[in-house]
């Protein structure tokens, strides 16, 4: 658990959803870039205050999924997975919600502490789409906040939701993705086996990766596996320090 004096918010989303606009609208001019320790990746970070709490927002690369097919996807996934942000905000495009929900569902598999920011509500309206964010929130099991980041609409509600999820005032309970029955049976076995790892990460998520024979994830846990993956997989940082570097 992070010290709530310095809560961290990870900002993820598909490309072209106005994620950067949300980032700018949230943090204003309080931005700087910093290296994620151990990674040769520069991420932009900024701060905003709500109820006397200063939140650090980290802008993750825009991705369509978290399958770690590309360096960008891997950075986004590893940040949510290992830096354990207090809240992960997924910015989605209201005009093509279905496609954007794929990423939301994948984030929810990793962390329940998620807020969905439904951006471009004005554009959706113009296209004749009525997005019921209350219904969406119920279906997903996490807050879904309608926004028009360009004009700043909905940002206060977004900050409030982030605060509430970070402090535990809102308890989130994501609806899990149901896989085919044969996968679910195997997942149940593996999830039970992996339950001792629950304080570190979602056993169900890890079980799914193991079942998919995606052994690249193991390098983060088992030292002998460090060299087994391709050279394109970046070395993971030592996680001895847990405080984000943007404060130093």
């Amino acid at each position: 658990m992070n010290n709530l004096k310095h809560p961290i918010v990870a900002l993820s989303g598909n490309p072209n959803t106005g994620k950067s606009t949300v980032f700018n609208a949230l943090t204003g001019l309080n931005q700087h870039t910093g290296n994620w320790p151990g990674k040769t990746v520069t991420l932009a970070a900024g701060t905003f205050a709500w109820q006397n709490t200063t939140f650090t927002v980290v802008d993750l690369p825009g991705t369509y999924s978290l399958f770690a097919n590309s360096p960008d996807e891997e950075v986004a996934r590893d940040f949510i997975l290992f830096e354990l942000p207090d809240v992960t905000v997924v910015v989605v495009d209201a005009t093509c919600l279905e496609r954007n929900l794929n990423l939301v569902l994948q984030v929810l598999e990793i962390t329940p502490k998620t807020v969905v920011c439904v951006n471009l509500m004005d554009e959706a309206q113009r296209q004749g789409l009525v997005v019921d964010t209350d219904k969406l929130a119920t279906e997903l099991g996490v807050p879904a906040i309608p926004c028009v980041a360009r004009s700043g609409k909905g940002l206060a509600a977004l900050k409030k939701a982030i605060f509430n999820v970070a402090t535990g005032r809102i308890a989130t309970s994501p609806r899990p993705i149901r896989y085919d029955p044969n996968i679910e049976i195997a997942l149940a076995v593996l999830t039970k086996e992996l339950s001792p790892l629950a304080p570190l990460l979602s056993p169900r998520w890890l079980a799914l990766r193991l079942l998919e024979q995606d052994e690249s994830i193991l390098q983060h846990f088992l030292p002998e596996d460090k060299t087994s993956t391709s050279s394109l997989v970046m070395q993971h940082p030592s996680t001895t320090k847990k405080v984000a570097p943007w404060f130093s």
Partner: protein
Amino acid sequence: MVQLNSSQTAALQQARQLAANLPAPSHDQVVCSIFDTAQTIAEQSVKKMPTSKINWQERLDHVLTSPILGFPVMMVLLVIVFWLTLEGANYPSELLSTLFNLGEGALSALFIRLKAPLWLHGLIVLGIYRTTAWVVAVMLPPMAIFFPLFTLLEDLGYLPRVAFNLDRLFQWAGAHGKQALTMCMGFGCNAAGVIACRIIESPRERLVAILTNTFVPCNGRFPTLITLSAIFLGGTLYSSNSGLSASLAVLVLVIIGIGTTFAISWLLNRTLLKGVPSAFILELPPYRPPQVIRVLIRSVFDRTIHVLIRAVVWAVPAGALTWILANIHLGSGATVLSTAANSLNGFAQWLGLDGYILLAFFLGLPANEIVLPIVVMGYLAGNALLWPDTLSELQQLLVAHGWTAKTALLVMLFSLLHFPCSTTLWTIKKETGSTLWTAVAFLLPLMIACTVLFILNILLPSL
């Protein structure tokens, strides 16, 4: 590293063992479950008011990406593009060639007035000037038509639909669907296509896309294909529909190239580069009216001029070198060029080519567009006066040197399948950072081209 205590490590190892013995779900199965859930949730929380704009675009997408109509529409569009290019390029090509002829006369007159030595006139006018003029006259008009048309399709938003259509085939080949886009870029320039492979995230699939990019004819090779189709496969040269039949011939070659791309991708995915294709999301952007002026400017400056300058830059030294090789006599009286061609002749005959053709492909490594002029220069050797100015003169010259429709077909296939040009190879070296893969990119197509020609040479009756 995430620190695990001993019981956690044990649990992880245990689970890993278990997982290894459980049947692995396919990545598609997992992705489909996620997509299905997303679809269900989206359907429940979004209501759609019917608007005409969306319907119009969706209906168009239904046709252009339909499993039945998608491919025929693609073919028809390609034939239209080729046909416009072939027909439209004829007249300006002839005009340019006439202008360059006048220029050559003036240049020769100047050399005579200055009492320049004969070898200097040969090197500069017969070597450099003629090769460069050929490249410009033959290449510029088709490029100036082909590139804008292609950019227009790009601007309309059609190319992502092509990628969508081809995705099924690429998946069958075990390759990434985005390879359809890099392949399309290859039609413009293989070096550009190789750079475009950066959009493919997985290193394995990117390598497959890079290695097979050369199988679609780039703009340097289109003129060769178009010229030879027009002469040998277009029916009677001056019949009214020769343009159309030549377009169809080029289309067939393009389809052979695409087919080879699939086949070799399939092979690579099962041998050197094993793995499963990764899932990806392809955004189909809304159709937009193309910005015609911007398309023209962009395609003329970014592509046409760029490719033309590159071709001219290589035509100058290649023209000089070929002229020198064709005019330096060895002790026996034969020229360096003819000696080299003769030594290659035995092998070339197996492929249904001759030594000059094969030599031209190697000398044309820097730029494929100069292959035909090198062949012509080799045939002419001392008789530079017989330089062909029209397609029918070129046909007479080639036929006089034993060309048949079969030879033309084999030359076109070799041009289609052989090694990429030096610029592309250099780009591959930069993109992969590996000399080994660059060597594979050179040798693999060469082996395929030789095998195909060898077999066809035996199977095909003389045409």
